[in-house]
Amino acid sequence: MKKEDIPQDKGALGNEVSYVVDENGRYTTGISKGWDVKIEALDVAWSDIEKKVYAAKQKVLNDEASPVLYFMELKIMDLPIVAAYTGFWQWQIRRHLKPSVFNTLSEKKIQKYAELFEITPDELRQAKQILSNR
């Protein structure tokens, strides 16, 4: 890439260093403000996440999944990550995704999830009501 061709589209990260060649073919560095191709790739990733969050929300509202699923998607986590942070086994978490099991969870377990999802235990328990009001 030549120095004058460095893309200057407005990205989220601000100025980034790029290695480019000058008019004599010598490598040098230049600053890029961002590149549309990359910004759009990131947009695709976020729109995929939004779709997953929306689907999880519908499942919670339809009693097909517990709020744990919704917050897991919201925090871009999957079972291995939630397991690593909470110390639960993946099969336990898979059970906690069922509304019937979720409703019987101990205070301690709810507390652990709430901490990970950065909400209060009440917000987790009442997530269904809160989501339906949005």
Binding site: Y27, V37, K38, Y85
Partner: protein, 339 residues
């Protein structure tokens, strides 16, 4: 307490940490491209059985941690790298290092990295930064991706050092054990070692999903994506490919431009015309990676939808594979002539 440390922004975090840290510890000649080349940073791998954020696991560079490790080893610089099971001990040991007036690097996760824009905060655990001081409860951080020094509270730093999930850093702390100048002769030899290892990794690594054969493998996969995954998922997969290619700050060239810069800098130590012409070949490869990213973006934006578009995308990668194969073959010949 703040250590007198020269922050410099780099194209990539591990190169940047390696170069800045080594310069601080006495290696005056080191630059980001030299660290990348000596550490044999250029690579390609498609891990067929692994998923990252539900998409393909692809990397354009060597495994996290290797660039620092190999560069230090080649330059005969003793290093310390340590993981912790206790968060308190991890902090105490960092503080002790800072109190001794010495900076240290940490591997961290970016999900909770407060100064990063939200758009970039995924559960990616192999980011690198240098801690260069502590004032009250705040750590002063030299993050090679950022333009200037940034800071984080002790809680925030602890959180990123103990991020969980794949490649969990487990508090990982690393630094050169002592200040040491290296001779130009050492750099010369390290360049030879770095190139030889990179030639081997790209041309002769066994299996069909790494090195040059990995690029071809990916090309063939892409041609099938439209049928096997459907339009929507193929778009997400291609967007992921581009995100990995770009990572942060490779200028879109999947690290190929940094390697081109390395070969030019290597010329100062090994004045052989071949290095300059092979450098141009890597520039060409980087440019073609950028063109491929533009083609991919046409697909993930929904402008390009036919099988022909996917075939074109795959063919571009096949062409790149040939370019890089030729460049590395020439490099393999050139490196034998180096003294």
């Amino acid at each position: 307490m703040k250590i007198d440390f020269t922050h410099s922004q780099a194209a990539h975090c591990e190169n940047g940490v390696t170069a800045s840290l080594l310069r601080h510890y006495g290696v005056e000649q080191i630059t980001e491209p030299l660290a990348f080349g000596i550490g044999s940073g250029l690579f390609f791998i498609y891990l067929p059985f692994m998923k990252v954020n539900g998409g393909p696991a692809i990397s354009f560079r060597t495994m996290p941690g290797m660039i620092f490790k190999r560069t230090c080893k080649s330059l005969n610089i003793p290093i310390l790298r340590k993981k912790f099971s206790s968060e308190e001990k991890a902090q105490l040991e960092l503080d002790a290092r800072l109190n001794a007036g010495e900076p240290a690097a940490c591997q961290v996760g970016v999900y909770y990295l407060t100064y990063f824009p939200k758009e970039y905060r995924f559960h990616f655990n192999a980011h690198n930064l240098i801690v260069v001081g502590k004032e009250a409860d705040n750590y002063i951080i030299s993050d090679p991706i950022m333009e200037t020094l940034v800071s984080m509270s002790s809680y925030e730093l602890k959180r990123v050092r103990f991020a969980k999930g794949p490649l969990a850093p487990r508090g990982q702390l690393y630094y050169p054990r002592e200040r040491r100048a290296v001779t130009d002769e050492q750099i010369k030899n390290a360049i030879v070692t770095g190139i030889k290892r990179n030639v081997r990794d790209m041309l002769y690594i066994p299996g069909n999903f790494a090195g040059i054969s990995g690029i071809k493998y990916t090309a063939k996969k892409i041609k099938k994506w439209r049928d096997s995954l459907g339009l929507e998922k193929s778009r997400s997969y291609l967007a992921q490919l581009v995100r990995m290619q770009e990572e942060i700050g490779t200028g879109g060239g999947g690290f190929r431009f940094i390697y081109g810069a390395f070969l030019q800098q290597a010329y100062a130590y090994h004045p052989m015309d071949e290095l300059m012409s092979i450098s141009r070949q890597f520039t060409r490869a980087g440019d073609r990676w950028r063109d491929a990213a533009v083609q991919a973006s046409g697909i993930y934006k929904g402008r390009l939808t036919t099988q022909e578009d996917y075939n074109n995308m795959g063919d571009m990668l096949l062409e790149i594979a040939e370019l890089e194969k030729a460049a590395f073959k020439e490099l393999a010949v050139a490196v034998k002539k180096m003294k």
